[in-house]
Amino acid sequence: MQPILIAFSIALVGVMGTVLLFSVAMRHREDEEEVSAPTRAPTSTGQFFLDEAADPHPGSDLSSDALRVRVERHVRLEQKAAEGFLRSPSAESLQTRSASQLKS
């Protein structure tokens, strides 16, 4: 009788351990999903100008030429702003917007 009880106890501990490990693993996966859920996937067009360049004003019929001009103006203004940062580095100069019309 005693060996049977010992074997039963070992089996019970094994099952409890498995259940515990499984529940921890599931909780970890749920946490990961919670963290990743609010993060929007990057746009297929990338993040350096193109996300806005692809569709700056939905519904508008901005021509490619006009868009190109707008992108180049954006580059010039941003370069000027970046050179300003170089002369006098500050958090504000990284965060303020230029007069560029290439906005989201």
Partner: protein, 156 residues
């Protein structure tokens, strides 16, 4: 036409600057002509003597590809540091905006001169590091500002 102060030759004595410039040949580019294309082997670097050079990268607009301004180089400035720095491939396209005069410095001859006269090599490489460092910081700043725009556009 006045000869500009070359940013690449800053700090060299007149004799040292002459030794560098003796390696150069003059070139004229009509406005609109291509100096080099993205991906080309970079065998030379260029000093802008007069005119203006526009550096561009390709961007797709629908079914068309356009060359978009990255930066412009003016008299006194250099173009094409890839001629000195491995892997010696141009990473942008360069086009003369207007009729432009250049001095063409062969990278290999310049490297030979550096071995022969290390003082010149040290000064030019220091100048190059400063030029590249400034441009890197400008582009890093532009990148950070773009990320800030992205974050704001996400509603943060």
């Amino acid at each position: 036409m006045p000869i500009p102060d070359w940013e690449l030759l800053d700090g060299l004595s007149p004799g040292e600057a002459s030794a560098v410039l003796a390696l150069a040949s003059a070139a004229r580019l009509p406005g609109g002509s291509v100096l080099f294309r993205l991906g080309d082997a970079a065998e030379n670097l260029f000093l802008v003597r007069a005119g203006r050079v526009r550096l561009t990268f390709p961007m797709r607009f629908g079914d068309r590809q356009e060359d978009i301004l990255a930066e412009e180089r003016f008299p006194g400035q250099m173009v094409g540091w890839s001629g000195l720095i491995p892997p010696h491939r141009f990473t942008l396209q360069a086009v003369a905006v207007v009729d432009t005069e250049l001095l063409v410095l062969p990278g290999a001859a310049l490297r030979d001169l550096f071995l022969e006269r290390p003082g010149i090599g040290y000064r030019i490489v220091s100048n190059l590091a400063q030029i590249v460092g400034q441009r890197l910081t400008v582009f890093q700043t532009m990148w950070i500002r773009e990320l800030q725009r992205v974050v704001e556009s996400q509603g943060a």
